[in-house]
């Protein structure tokens, strides 16, 4: 029971550190430190990805023949840790390389693979995943976007929602309904599409947090070739499961303020009976947050241990988002309440910690929903980890077109 690298891991970490020290400095000299969401930030991200690809650090676990390094999962985790420490992580490629391109590799023909894999690894092209719809969030297979065969083409009409990065992505994998006359899971098909096609329109979603980080994507008579199909007609659900299985191991930490920031805040705030930090109820909450944060950190260490031993990690990492999203909401709200009436202020120049708690308070509801709601995640733990039966499916043997839809 320790936290030490094995000799091989230590050697790899040393090598990664040395490479990062040299290359992060060179990268910064060239690109500076641009603000997120600017074109300069995107350009810097692409340049960094190209640099990593040239050195075999872009897709560490992939075979060398397709631009990877033939490395192990633990090497990938170690590089990720060191990269984060070096302060040069860019999020643009996570979904594409983690989920979309592996799906292309699993189901596309050789020409398509040859065309797309290498540019994606080098960061030249960015991919997004187009699954969720207004009528299909938790129940993705209820999606309505329709593809109709027309000669050698398919014509697609419909709408996707909550697509991360759709406005800057070059390509996407798109799950559509090709047969509404069979039960919902059986009538789906997957395609890759060109996001720059004029028949694809991205509209930013105005979130309750005030930001516009996600998109709605509309398809109006979008024509795709049958050769853009990934997997067989009607097999889209099976293809989508492969995409979701490729989701990267969640061994990263969660963003946002944690117990340390709340402690720092409470030190300087006065409560009714002295400093807020001396309030007993507040201290108990602080202890709970610490215990949960440590619990998640050491759960990640357990996952890494399994990888380090060459084993498949256990299901314990499934607890991560349920805890972190709820905790962020509770922590942010407690910190805002501790500020008294002043807590209502959101101006970063006035609110403590540049309004980080106010921002987290408004962001946390989204975290509890994105990538699986609390409720769906609990179902997943109950069914896949504990082996409890699935829900009664009233739509199982009903043709999609006959399913009740509500609003």
């Amino acid at each position: 029971m320790d936290f030490n690298d094995s000799p091989e891991e230590a050697a790899y970490r040393e090598k990664a550190r040395a490479w990062l020290a040299e290359n992060a400095a060179a990268h910064r000299a060239e690109h500076g430190d641009p603000k997120p969401t600017t074109p300069e930030h995107m350009a810097a991200g692409k340049a960094w990805q190209a640099r990593k690809a040239a050195a075999g650090y872009a897709c560490i676990t992939w075979p060398a023949a397709i631009g990877g390094a033939g490395g192990t999962p633990i090497q990938s985790v170690i590089f990720g840790q060191e990269e984060a420490k070096a302060g040069v992580s860019y999020g643009y490629f996570t979904i594409g390389l983690g989920m979309c391109v592996p799906t292309v590799m699993a189901f596309a023909n050789d020409d398509t693979k040859k065309r797309f894999v290498s540019p994606a690894v080098k960061g030249e092209e960015i991919w997004c995943q187009l699954f969720s719809e207004p009528a299909g969030g938790s129940d993705v297979a209820a999606l309505r976007t329709r593809a109709v065969k027309d000669g050698d083409d398919w014509v697609i009409n419909g709408q996707k929602v909550w697509t991360t990065g759709a406005h800057y992505c070059d390509y996407g994998i798109l799950l559509v309904r090709t047969d509404p006359d069979v039960p919902k899971h059986k009538g789906l098909t997957m395609f890759w599409i060109d996001m720059r096609d004029a028949a694809v329109e991205c509209r930013p979603i105005h979130q309750m947090s005030g930001g516009r980080e996600f998109n709605e994507v509309y398809f109006t008579d979008l024509r795709v070739k049958d050769s853009q199909r990934l997997g067989e007609v009607g097999q889209g659900w099976q293809v989508a499961l492969v995409t979701l299985m490729n989701e990267r191991l969640a061994v990263g930490g969660s963003a946002g303020p944690d117990y340390r920031q709340v402690m720092e805040l409470a030190r300087g705030l006065s409560g009714a009976n002295g400093p807020a930090l001396k309030d007993q109820a507040f201290r108990e909450k602080l202890a709970d947050w610490y215990v949960n944060s440590q619990g998640l950190k050491f759960t990640r260490f357990r996952t890494m241990t399994a990888l380090s031993r060459g084993q498949t990690p256990g299901p314990e990492s499934s607890i991560g988002k349920i805890i972190s999203a709820n905790q962020l909401q509770d922590l942010a709200n407690t910190a805002v309440e501790a500020q008294g009436e002043y807590g209502i202020l959101t101006d970063p120049a006035l609110a403590p910690m540049e309004a980080a708690f106010q921002q987290s308070l408004m962001w946390a509801p989204g975290l509890r929903i994105a990538g699986g709601t609390d409720e769906i995640l609990k179902n997943i733990i109950a069914e896949r980890v504990l082996g409890l039966p699935g829900d009664v499916r009233v739509d199982k043997d009903v043709a999609f077109k006959d399913m009740p839809t509500g609003r």
Partner: protein, 371 residues
Amino acid sequence: MDFDYSDDQKFLKDEARKFLAARCPSTVVRGVLDDPARSYDDGLWAAVAEQGWLGAAIPEEYNGLGLGRVELCAIAEELGRAVAPIPFASTVYILAEAVMAHGSDAQKAAVLPRIAAGELIGCLATSEGPGVVTPSSLQARVEGGKLSGVKIPVTDGDAAGMALVLANEGGRPGLFLVDLKASGVKVETLQSLDPTRGVARLTFEGASADRLGEPGQGFELVQAILDRAAVLLAFEQLGGADRCLEMAKEYALGRYAFGRTIAGYQAIKHKLADMYVKNEVARSNAYYGAWALNVDAPELPTAAAAARIAASDAFWFASKESVQVHGGMGFTWDVDCHLYYRRSRQLSLVAGSPKLWKERLVSELEKKNAA
């Protein structure tokens, strides 16, 4: 990164589980529960001694096995799972660990081989009434090497041959080893929430007391001892919590209502998922505590506090919600749910309540952040 039981430790844990499945089924636990004259199962105690578990972490020079603390944690997890009705925690996590960490050579030689052989049961006597004992409230005193005062409650005090007693000596709190079989000691068995573990009132009138560690350091010593015990107790709590989840799951799968298994209802599924989440948080914190205990890390106070808080929370939640999932059956004496419900209270109340540990944790964090 090697943050888990090793293969050898897993093997030891599996063997312990098999051993306890054979030697400590719930009929053995109930044998103690239902008989007011018994405070532990002496047959199981002897068998556990024979396995070497009592001396697992005691050095070989004192007739122990000389294993690490992580091995002891693995055993603790299985004892908790089996709600073993034996004074293992008081003897091994508290008395043996205290003497190993703070005892003189003579005290080690007098105490440790007897523990390893199963000849000596220990207990910790600090409490003197409701609430928390403090330097200003402490009444027990030692004068000229003789102890007088009343300690209540003392977990395993009715079975123990030796107590660690917190008492003032010359107006300064100290910690003392007291032979409970010698003169000047009165032992009265008391009723408790968890009859599968013994509880007593110890009345001392001129009992011989042998100081452990430095004079005036009684409260510091107790805290240091509890830091170590808290980690091991956390593993017992974790073992119990995991078993509660299993029992609830097995029952739910086999119980049908409204035409289908209740394990398919989301109200039940989400309850069991909540148990799983808490148990995993507890396990990860407990592992960190095990690491800190094993290498005597300076982080032990925070690691122990976090382990204890998480494990207390997990076991309480799992034990009470396991009763709930079992419905009316869970409220009967004959179903085992209440054995865990009772033990979850016993393990949370002994060695300082979670509320105290939360305060200790935040105080430690304040020190760390100020530094």
